[in-house]
């Protein structure tokens, strides 16, 4: 029983230490304080893979992420089986200033053990500082098995550093199924259909009150990013994944004709006063509408469609039912023809700044099927799709998560990571956003693309 009392003491310390931060940790502490702790919890997993890392009891791993309350709680809950197995304590810290603060902490010699980096571009920057540790072989093996498509995004200059964690699908158009069926509209299956449907909606609703689309790109200092998703989605569709890769890695310039074509297609919707901005006003209002609020007019009939990633699910008012027969639902942003299925995705990369055994063990856990399934089980409201293709999709609670997983695992799908996250920060987190914002407020296509091209660092 020596082990047990030690464990209990460790848990107690952990509870005191994180009491102010995490309700979940308290909950798990209470469970264990109640009595028979070993192996009694619901999410028990096979502990064998972590025993190879040696005695880890009482060790601590710090995690730094951009995932903050309330989304952090289910995340923390999904670590419990690992903590039960090994006795390692995971210290979770979420910050909205994550992207700005992480490089500062790394430079200051105060790096966390693990950070969930949502941008491969930032990973490359961090690797350049020399602080990032390559992924241990156990993680590499898991990634090979569970998420082969994501390997390239965690690889910098031929060395594999980071496994993917969560995944989300960005190529969604949100709509109201009831509004569609009342007006007799069908979900479009090609880009041309989508434009034709937009024309039809605009013709059916003359005047300024109702428009086919609503959009908003205001996001504080990150204003403009939703438009970059539009451009990326259309690049994938009009130019194809190969050209998309060249564009992202700057093998073709940003003002290449292929990009101009994609931007022109986006402009057919976003810069057309007939099509936008339902519920808000003219094209310019896109720039001042917060992205979280931009989809709301779908609910009161101000607009019919809103393009936004799967995380839009969190932006609907409380009580909005999401599903095929609910208040709102999403369809896949159609490709140019039905034979191809490009998907724009996003996700986080588990970046390690330490190679202590407990850190390696935790990395291994995060890249395992066990974690992906635990994440689905402890999910809560949704947004728990992981990059892990061997995870059981049936465990996912929300309809949207199921649809996302279906799209991601479709054999025909050509998934590509969000391009602005792959580009250098000077472009992907600055001039691309700024350029697209200015484009919305009036700058023409050519000037916009030329501006972004000249900002690409040599």
């Amino acid at each position: 029983m020596a082990l047990n009392s030690r464990r209990r003491f460790a848990t107690l310390t952990a509870v005191v230490a994180v009491a102010a931060l995490t309700v979940t940790a308290c909950g798990s502490g209470d469970d264990e304080g109640g009595g028979d702790d070993a192996g009694s919890t619901g999410g028990a997993i096979d502990c064998a893979p972590y025993e190879a890392f040696g005695e880890l009891d009482g060790k601590t791993v710090t995690v730094y992420t951009s995932i903050t309350a309330p989304e952090d709680e289910p995340h923390i809950a999904s670590y419990k089986p690992f903590e039960d197995c090994t006795g390692v304590e995971i210290k979770y810290e979420g910050s909205k200033e994550f992207e700005a603060q992480l490089p500062v902490r790394v430079k200051g010699g105060n790096a966390p053990d693990i950070a969930y980096v949502p941008q491969p571009g930032l990973l490359a920057t961090l690797v350049a500082t020399g602080a990032v540790k390559p992924a241990p072989p156990e993680v590499a093996a898991n990634v090979e098995k569970n998420m082969p498509d994501w390997q390239q995004y965690g690889t910098v200059d031929g060395t594999f550093y980071a496994a993917a964690l969560g995944a989300n699908v960005k190529s969604f158009v949100w709509y109201s199924p009831s509004a569609f069926s009342e007006a007799g509209y069908e979900v479009p299956t090609t880009w041309a259909d989508l434009l034709a449907l937009s024309e039809k909606i605009a013709a059916d609703n003359p005047g300024d009150e109702v428009k086919p689309w609503c959009a908003g790109i205001e996001s504080g200092e990150a204003t403009g990013w939703p438009t970059t998703d539009w451009v990326e989605d259309l690049m994938l569709r009009t130019a194809g994944p190969e050209t998309y890769d060249k564009w992202v890695s700057h093998e073709i310039p940003f003002n290449d004709p292929a990009v101009a074509t994609a931007l022109a297609e986006v402009g057919k919707i976003l810069k057309n006063d007939k099509f936008v901005n339902g519920g808000f006003g003219n094209v310019k209002t896109i720039a001042s509408t917060a992205f979280q609020e931009a989809g709301q007019p779908i609910l009161d009939g101000g607009c019919y469609m809103h393009r936004q990633a799967s995380f839009q699910a969190a932006n609907w008012p409380e009580g909005t039912e999401i599903g095929e027969d609910g208040d709102v639902w999403a369809f896949y942003l159609p490709a140019v023809d039905e034979s191809t299925k490009p998907v724009l995705t996003g996700g986080e990369l588990t970046t390690a700044f330490a190679d202590r055994p407990e850190v390696k063990a935790f990395q291994t856990y995060l890249s395992s099927v066990e974690w992906a399934n635990e994440r689905a089980k402890t999910c809560g409201v949704g947004g728990c799709v992981t990059a892990n293709k061997n995870a059981d999709p049936e465990l996912l609670g929300s309809a949207l998560d199921k649809l996302s997983a279906e799209i991601l695992t479709d054999p025909a799908a050509q998934a590509r990571f969000d391009g602005s996250d792959l580009m250098p920060g000077a472009v992907g987190a600055n001039s691309f956003w700024k350029g697209m914002t200015d484009w919305i407020t009036g700058k023409d296509d050519k000037a916009t693309l030329d501006f972004i091209e000249q900002s690409w660092p040599e």
């Binding site: 992207e99 200051g108 010699g109 504080g220 200092e221 209002t285 920060g425 407020t441 660092p457």
Partner: protein, 339 residues
């Protein structure tokens, strides 16, 4: 310069638990530790100073008192400043070979020139408007009935943080289509008067002026308070003598009030000027520097921490420093003259 400040503190100089106080008890412990530490250092300095007596002892006392300050200013200010200046000459990343590229970019790229133009607008307009409004108000309410209440009204915004003020005014400027219910005060007034509603924060260059109004709103109270105190300090006999000589209202202001409060005016204008040069919160809260409203301090942050161009960010910080220095020097020279 934040990055450099943190970088300058070697890892491990502060015990790990104190860097990350996470529990409530831990935070309180950290607080008491800091207070006790401060008291201990202070006591030590006083004790050391008391050891020296006599004529030469006084010199040593001076050294003991000034030494810690110099040391901390050196670590916290001078060293990072030198690092930043050095970085600004080393290309975009701040780590390449020495070059002037960041400075040429600053004065040639249209986007950055716009930033400089905006900063110039701010620095000219805010001190001018805030001081004139504050001065006018101070004179108008001077010795009037309900003076204290009137002063409190204009001084209140001073108590609000810049971020808070930014959020408040963002609501005031909020845009909705003319046909819809308005939640922005300004557009509600426009609509009630029968005009089209306006996107105050989007339409350049109007939006920069709309942001400047927020800063003036905050700073006018400061100007009013200081100037009002200065006006009250004018000796009554001067005013009475002037009145006996038949000096009229405007001449009284021009030849009696203004010269008497000159020192206070200089302090107010320069203080607001320095504050305006460094303005960041209002711009970041209200527009994020978008729609052609960015200013030097905001652009410095964007380039350093978001665009991954710390070299260019450092160059902007150096520019800010160069612009602030003459104002500070002028301020000191003026204060010396008065003393």
């Amino acid at each position: 310069m934040t990055a450099n400040v943190l970088g300058a503190v070697p890892a491990g100089i502060i015990p790990e638990p104190l860097l990350r106080a996470e529990s409530v008890a831990g935070k309180f412990f950290l607080m008491f530790f800091a207070i006790a530490f401060f008291a201990a250092v202070f006591g030590l300095v006083l004790f050391l100073a008391s050891l020296f007596r006599g004529r030469t002892g006084e010199k040593w006392q001076g050294v003991v008192f000034v030494g810690p300050t110099l040391l901390l200013v050196g670590i916290g200010l001078v060293y990072p400043a030198i690092l930043t200046i050095n970085q600004s000459f080393k290309g975009r990343s701040g780590e390449d070979a020495y070059t002037l590229s960041n400075y040429t970019a600053m004065f040639t790229q249209p986007e950055l020139l716009l930033v400089l133009r905006n900063t110039a607008l701010w620095v000219i307009l805010v001190p001018l408007l805030a001081t004139s409004i504050g001065l006018l108000y101070a004179i108008l309410v001077d010795r009037a009935r309900g003076e204290a209440f009137a002063k409190a009204l204009i001084f209140l915004p001073m108590a609000i943080s810049m971020v808070g003020a930014g959020i408040i005014w963002k609501f005031v400027y909020q845009y909705k289509q003319t046909s819809r219910p308005q939640i922005g005060l300004l557009n509600a007034i426009l609509k009630a008067l029968g005009f089209e509603t306006q996107q105050f924060l989007i339409n350049a260059p109007l939006n920069t002026f709309m942001l400047i109004i927020v800063m003036v709103w905050i700073q006018a109270g400061f100007a009013m308070t200081v100037l009002s105190a200065a006006i009250k300090a004018i000796p009554d006999d001067i005013i009475e003598a002037a009145k006996l000589d038949g000096v009229q209202t405007f001449k009284m202001f021009r030849f009696i009030t203004l010269p008497s409060i000159r020192a206070a005016l200089v302090v107010v204008v320069t203080t607001i000027g320095i504050g305006t040069l460094k303005v960041f919160d209002i711009v970041r809260t209200m527009t994020g520097g978008q729609f052609d409203t960015s200013v030097v301090a905001n652009e410095f942050y964007v380039q350093s921490f978001r665009a991954n161009a710390p070299g260019l960010g450092a160059a902007l910080a150096v520019l800010l420093f160069v612009l602030v220095v003459p104002i500070v020097v002028y301020n000191i020279v003026q204060m010396r003259k008065e003393a």
